[in-house]
Subunit: 341 residues, 4 copies
Amino acid sequence: MLVIMKDHASSAEVQHVVDLLTEAGAEAHLSRGEVKTIIGVIGDREVIYTLELEGLAGVEQVIRVLKPYKLVGRDFQPQDTVVRVGGTAIGGGAFGVIAGPCSIESEDQMLTTARAARDSGATMLRGGAYKPRSSPYAFQGMGVEGLRLLRAAGDEVGLPVVTEVLDVRDTGTVAEYADILQVGARNMQNFRMLDELGETRKPVLLKRGLSATIEELLSAAEYVIKGGNRDVILCERGIRTFETHTRNTLDLAAVAALKILTHLPVVVDPSHATGRRDLIAPMARASVAAGADGLMIEVHPDPERARCDGPQSLTPTDFDALMRDIAPRVALEGKSLGESS
Amino acid sequence: MLVIMKDHASSAEVQHVVDLLTEAGAEAHLSRGEVKTIIGVIGDREVIYTLELEGLAGVEQVIRVLKPYKLVGRDFQPQDTVVRVGGTAIGGGAFGVIAGPCSIESEDQMLTTARAARDSGATMLRGGAYKPRSSPYAFQGMGVEGLRLLRAAGDEVGLPVVTEVLDVRDTGTVAEYADILQVGARNMQNFRMLDELGETRKPVLLKRGLSATIEELLSAAEYVIKGGNRDVILCERGIRTFETHTRNTLDLAAVAALKILTHLPVVVDPSHATGRRDLIAPMARASVAAGADGLMIEVHPDPERARCDGPQSLTPTDFDALMRDIAPRVALEGKSLGESS
Amino acid sequence: MLVIMKDHASSAEVQHVVDLLTEAGAEAHLSRGEVKTIIGVIGDREVIYTLELEGLAGVEQVIRVLKPYKLVGRDFQPQDTVVRVGGTAIGGGAFGVIAGPCSIESEDQMLTTARAARDSGATMLRGGAYKPRSSPYAFQGMGVEGLRLLRAAGDEVGLPVVTEVLDVRDTGTVAEYADILQVGARNMQNFRMLDELGETRKPVLLKRGLSATIEELLSAAEYVIKGGNRDVILCERGIRTFETHTRNTLDLAAVAALKILTHLPVVVDPSHATGRRDLIAPMARASVAAGADGLMIEVHPDPERARCDGPQSLTPTDFDALMRDIAPRVALEGKSLGESS
Amino acid sequence: MLVIMKDHASSAEVQHVVDLLTEAGAEAHLSRGEVKTIIGVIGDREVIYTLELEGLAGVEQVIRVLKPYKLVGRDFQPQDTVVRVGGTAIGGGAFGVIAGPCSIESEDQMLTTARAARDSGATMLRGGAYKPRSSPYAFQGMGVEGLRLLRAAGDEVGLPVVTEVLDVRDTGTVAEYADILQVGARNMQNFRMLDELGETRKPVLLKRGLSATIEELLSAAEYVIKGGNRDVILCERGIRTFETHTRNTLDLAAVAALKILTHLPVVVDPSHATGRRDLIAPMARASVAAGADGLMIEVHPDPERARCDGPQSLTPTDFDALMRDIAPRVALEGKSLGESS
């Protein structure tokens, strides 16, 4: 950490900052220029992160040089994390495709979707049993019955299943049915849920919050790993900006940046990012090219009658075309569908 | 709801939309212009909100005329909601000032702050026992012991206490100690927590999410009221934008807009909104003038040693000056500190 | 400037940065910690601002400690700039109210508005002769004929007039008719126009760009002052965010922040910021309380038939009520309408 | 246009809106539901765009169904526009790569870059003679001498040249030297410059503004085409959001959306969008996959000593690697470098 003092900071002000630092257990190194004094601070990440010196008399700016995360960084682990589940993998050359409906609606809907997804080459099945909805008047999901249908459909077609934990109290129940536990965008900074997931032994799919920075996404993942669970998959699903043509703004540069910063696999959800069926295929292609380790695609046998996200859901036929389109592109990046090299 | 068809939408496409609407239980009214056909949809809010027609063949745009909320609106209840707790009130002419530290740190810290807050005219006491922190390495709060200290300090000085429910599982415990239950910005769309709070009999202070629209804030409040709890206080605390000089961007026009749209009281938290001690007083003044029903201010006896939010905390002396500054301004708006007219 | 090297930066990488700095005429001061090496850079603002060291081998982060502006800062000139024009002033205790229509439409419209504005206490008259419109099919303004009508109306009622320079080529013409030259939000970073205005002897009203930071606004003002024209008035008029309920998001904390950072007067345009008639009065009140030196308000004798911005224009009656509302608030801040203390 | 009246709008209020519409020359069609009255408005785009009915008594919402542009849309011209210059093309299957330094600095720098660019397969050469810089203390470009050097370098290697018109007064001069006239992001809504460019016979490269919506970008292009110049190339270069890890947020979904909405070619500038050398290659790959018609890449023989944008400039060697990487991807999309099919 660097503390940059104001131009006219007095010696007493500088000394006061140094005293506070020493008192907190950190080391202070003074560097006095003609105009400015800069204080370099050395100490444990834990200590440094308890220090908030902005606003002290004479202090102009405080710069944190240490990142707020450690375990998720390439400095800590240079090689790619490969998350394995069932016979499939994501990360380290394994490209995953997670397909399925926004919400689980019936046995028939899940089975139809699951068979189509598997036949077209999806490596995992998704479906929501608990739905976060802005309006209390919108469909809220089937709950445990939905989990049961998802599990059954996954078993039937031989695909691992991914579903969202909406309420921290459901973690155990969801973990009974699902292979991968999803944290939705609105829960990315639900820190007690992250703690809880750090203690499960199931992989976690962590979606980026609507207004979360890359650093905050990595810090959220750090919570899970610090808790003991190293199988975290990050998911870029668009951020909220002023543009309204698309539901959110897909931030593909974040995918490329994350691949540099962290060893964790990164998947992209073009369905939620764009909210428009006609933009899903081009954004899926772009995601592969940007270096993503996988895709999450909403598929519904009858999007017009979907109880959730119909406008951004692909039909099985569209999804099949997408998979054929994606296949050579995944190969071009030196990756294989569901298999780590 | 209005469905605007594309210029060249065929009769079959139009009919298909009409059929889907009828099937779902809504009424469709066709209006054919020379260029465009527009379908007006009439039905229950619950039905309308299950319909997602964007992306259907021939559909250009879907416009929702019905708001996604009802109970929070002025149409439903024209007169101001007054939230009463202890001997004090917020809303309907009663101006509330909630003061206290970001995090509860010790008995001495809480008592000192509580006395100073009361002596300067605060109407409620705040303090965090469970802290949401971006980094897992930052101080996470004292937990139940903190709740106990907050309650004791409030009782000592005769002020009701407000504190955040960070984890839905703690709702009951927090409700044992606190008079008002706060939902933090990161939990504004934690819908199961909102459901839970709808079933308690304690008032709820609902903070706007970092990237939540005014409509989403109102929809979140609708969850609580729909659950049976009508005592909801809304809190504007800044939204996330590109500007980095301030921690967030305080949206005071949202306060004025909310006062038109809803009967619920609206308070402002200039401490979190700006993140800078030197901007708190001017923004507190502006909040009063914008029509806010109250303020939430971070006060700490020793901000330099605060374990959280020191840079945006006022000292008791600063807070006292702020209260003297605010008093005539509250009166100018025809409101009284803690008393409804 | 500080250059923070990566954890494992080699001596050669560090030396390379030092060499580049020396070559450019700056001084480099090394500070080697156990983990990190930090290079402090000292030199002229002009030299420092030509240096872009991000992306060099071994460089992690570059921090600019020197602000990109100087002449606009309180360090350079502690006391408030007072901009005087005609018999009125803005800044240093003088509160200005600039009123008038979005666009000049006719002699009658301008005269009616001018008389009403003066009678209600406005200190300056505004009106647009050249209108920036997103669509080429919208009304683009009356041009020189509009300037003539504005000047005549101002002379008739004895108020100085403010109008926008949309095209740098019109600067001379506009300066013949207007007392204050306005730079619109879309031109805030039209640097050649800023240069040109730096050479005129008329005050400049510089509006903040839709996505401009506080620092960029100040840097834009620096262009004008560096050119030799010290009479610059800054105008906060809302920034673009995700919120769509209001046309823009009024950033009143920026007003308070600017008052600390710069000696230049700061006015607020609540009409453009909100785009809604019903939010103008509360935001005008809040602006006064936030420390603004003035207001810019759209007034039209018949808003329903206005060719531009009708929805956010006040009638003369509304404007009169606003002025009565504002007057005691301006006094409460220790300021006087149009008069510097 | 649709005017949605409030629930309790009176007959007089409805009639008043109808009268205003009729007076303006538009047709009003009433549709009275049980709760709401909706007024459909039919008329010329030019008439409709002069109507601003928001804020009228009884009006709840005004929805513009007509887009603010026409000539740029696929409805007006379904087939792709191909912009041809020198022996090369962009659009309609022709993929263009525009390479060169941020700013022109010397004859040697331009010639070295030009030769490297051509040898690696670039189809056009870029270089800035007039630079828009936030700070007046930063390098502002070489001016006409720079234009001369750019032209000479382009002629030497046989590539057409692209450069920015920063000041509308320079349009003629720049057009003497350049083959394509670039409008920078800050000038996207400099409407008089767009008018001026509409009258030249040189193609225009129009960059998206930092906070411009897709619709505003298309409306800006409409200005140029309406003026008589149909050769417009759009350029996505990142928008401003809350994320600070990258300089801007590259919006690739906008590229895919633009390809659906307009017949104009769309290129991507990953250099400005990311501001980081290490993200340029992945974002260039993703741009090709998203459907872009070309790329704009900053190349400098010695980025460390570049007077502008060094951190985001590629060396000739990096650029050569990028071109080899891109080539098979362009082919995979069914496009050819510089040649229209």
